[in-house]
């Protein structure tokens, strides 16, 4: 139940965020789908007791994969799907907790969340990098350049 609720929320939030990024109107729903997939993978991993950092990694991997597939299928730059879709994985909660514990004068918790947030940011980069590289290898073999 919580999972369905969370995924629906991600879909709405990412589609709405796509409006703020001036995504072309016809791709707004696609963005929402990318975000929903990311949210689903994240929530599902967390429910299976996977660590938050690893869950973010899986989620970012799924988002990057879907974005690249959508870019090929709908003939649009990857950025259009990736930038809005990655939003559910971005460590907004971690950033908030860092400040919260900093003000509460709890330096142990603060440094724990600081490390975790940096790890999540790094893991997102890694996931995007892996997918970019994979698709570039695939691209060089089949299609001539100019379709990134």
């Amino acid at each position: 139940m919580m999972l369905v609720f969370g995924v629906a929320g991600c879909f709405v939030a990412v589609a709405a965020f796509a409006v703020l990024l001036e995504t072309p109107k016809k791709y707004m729903l696609h963005d929402g789908i990318v975000g929903a997939i990311g949210g689903f993978v994240y929530l599902f991993s967390v429910q299976c007791h996977v660590d938050a950092v690893l869950a973010s990694f899986f989620s970012a991997l799924a988002i990057a994969l879907t974005s690249h597939i959508f870019a090929r299928v709908f003939k649009a730059p990857v950025t259009i799907f990736l930038i809005a879709g990655i939003l559910p994985t971005v460590p907004g909660a971690g950033m908030y907790r860092i400040v919260y514990y900093l003000i509460a004068n709890d330096s142990a918790q603060c440094s724990y969340y600081l490390t975790q947030t940096l790890e999540i940011a790094g893991v997102i980069s890694l996931a995007v990098f892996i997918m970019d590289t994979l698709f570039k290898v695939h691209l060089k073999k089949t299609v001539p350049k100019d379709t990134h």
């Binding site: 709405a16 109107k25 259009i80």
Partner: protein
């Protein structure tokens, strides 16, 4: 061939893409494609996050060089797609040089009315509440804080406040609104509301672009974007922190201190 017009077209295309938040390699790629249609011997385009330089040259002509400084950067994916489309059509011969220059001049701009952006801000702030474990109460409360965010953003933009200060003010207002809301409805979890409401502000776009730029070998742009992401994150965090601290003064036990 009108070399100057080719140069102007390429620089205009590059400027539009850079202002819209395109990755550096994409801007360079597009500019090179347009410049190469001039058929000169040397074609160079160098793009950094804050500006661009392009040169056309050959043995039988005076070299032409143009620089363009880009002051304001936002995110406008529609503009990136339009410019991409125009440059592709021009390079494949579907558009003449003059036509593409005129079409580039008209490219960009907003797609929606202001109230749609405000509605989108509210929806984006609300939608993340379930992801952080919020229930129906939190979703309802996030609508209210999202409205606060949309209001501060619209007013701030109209007053022309600097982006980082505006992020700080918005997150400050969110934190204050969320903690005040907790005083009215004690069952609501104010942490979840603040977290989901600051999501539209967090530097997700900057982080993603920073990674893609750095991995392409554009270290200057990548480094600049990482710095941008860090600054945005710091200003949002500072705003939230100030909001919580101030609320602690007003509501004894309501804030943290």
């Amino acid at each position: 061939m009108d070399y100057k017009l080719v140069m102007n077209t390429a620089v205009l295309a590059g400027e539009l893409m850079l202002c819209s938040g395109a990755e550096t390699y994409r801007v360079e790629d597009t500019m090179n494609h347009i410049l190469r249609t001039a058929g000169t011997q040397t074609v160079e385009a160098t793009v950094m996050m804050t500006g661009l330089v392009a040169t056309l040259g050959g043995p039988d002509m005076e070299p032409i060089t143009a620089t363009k400084r880009v002051q304001e950067r936002g995110t406008n994916l529609n503009c990136i797609m339009e410019v991409n489309d125009i440059s592709r059509k021009y390079c494949s011969g579907g558009l003449t040089l003059e036509e593409s220059y005129e079409r580039l001049k008209k490219a960009g701009g907003k797609q929606h009315r202001t109230w749609i952006y405000n509605l989108a801000t509210i929806l984006a702030a609300t939608g993340f509440a379930p992801l952080f474990g919020g229930g129906i109460t939190e979703v309802g409360a996030a609508v209210l804080t999202g409205t606060v965010l949309a209001l501060t953003h619209t007013i701030g933009k109209r007053l022309g406040i600097n982006g980082f200060i505006l992020d700080m003010l918005s997150s400050f207002a969110i934190a204050l609104a969320a903690i005040s809301l907790k005083q009215v409805i004690p069952s609501v979890n104010d942490n979840i509301i603040i977290m989901s409401s600051i999501m539209p502000l967090v530097p997700g776009v900057a982080i993603t672009n920073a990674v893609r730029d750095t991995l392409q070998g554009d270290y200057i742009s990548g480094g600049a974007r990482i710095l941008e992401a860090f600054l945005i994150a710091a200003s949002v965090a500072l705003g939230v922190g100030a909001g919580i601290a101030l609320a602690g003064v007003f509501f004894r036990g309501g804030g943290l201190i």
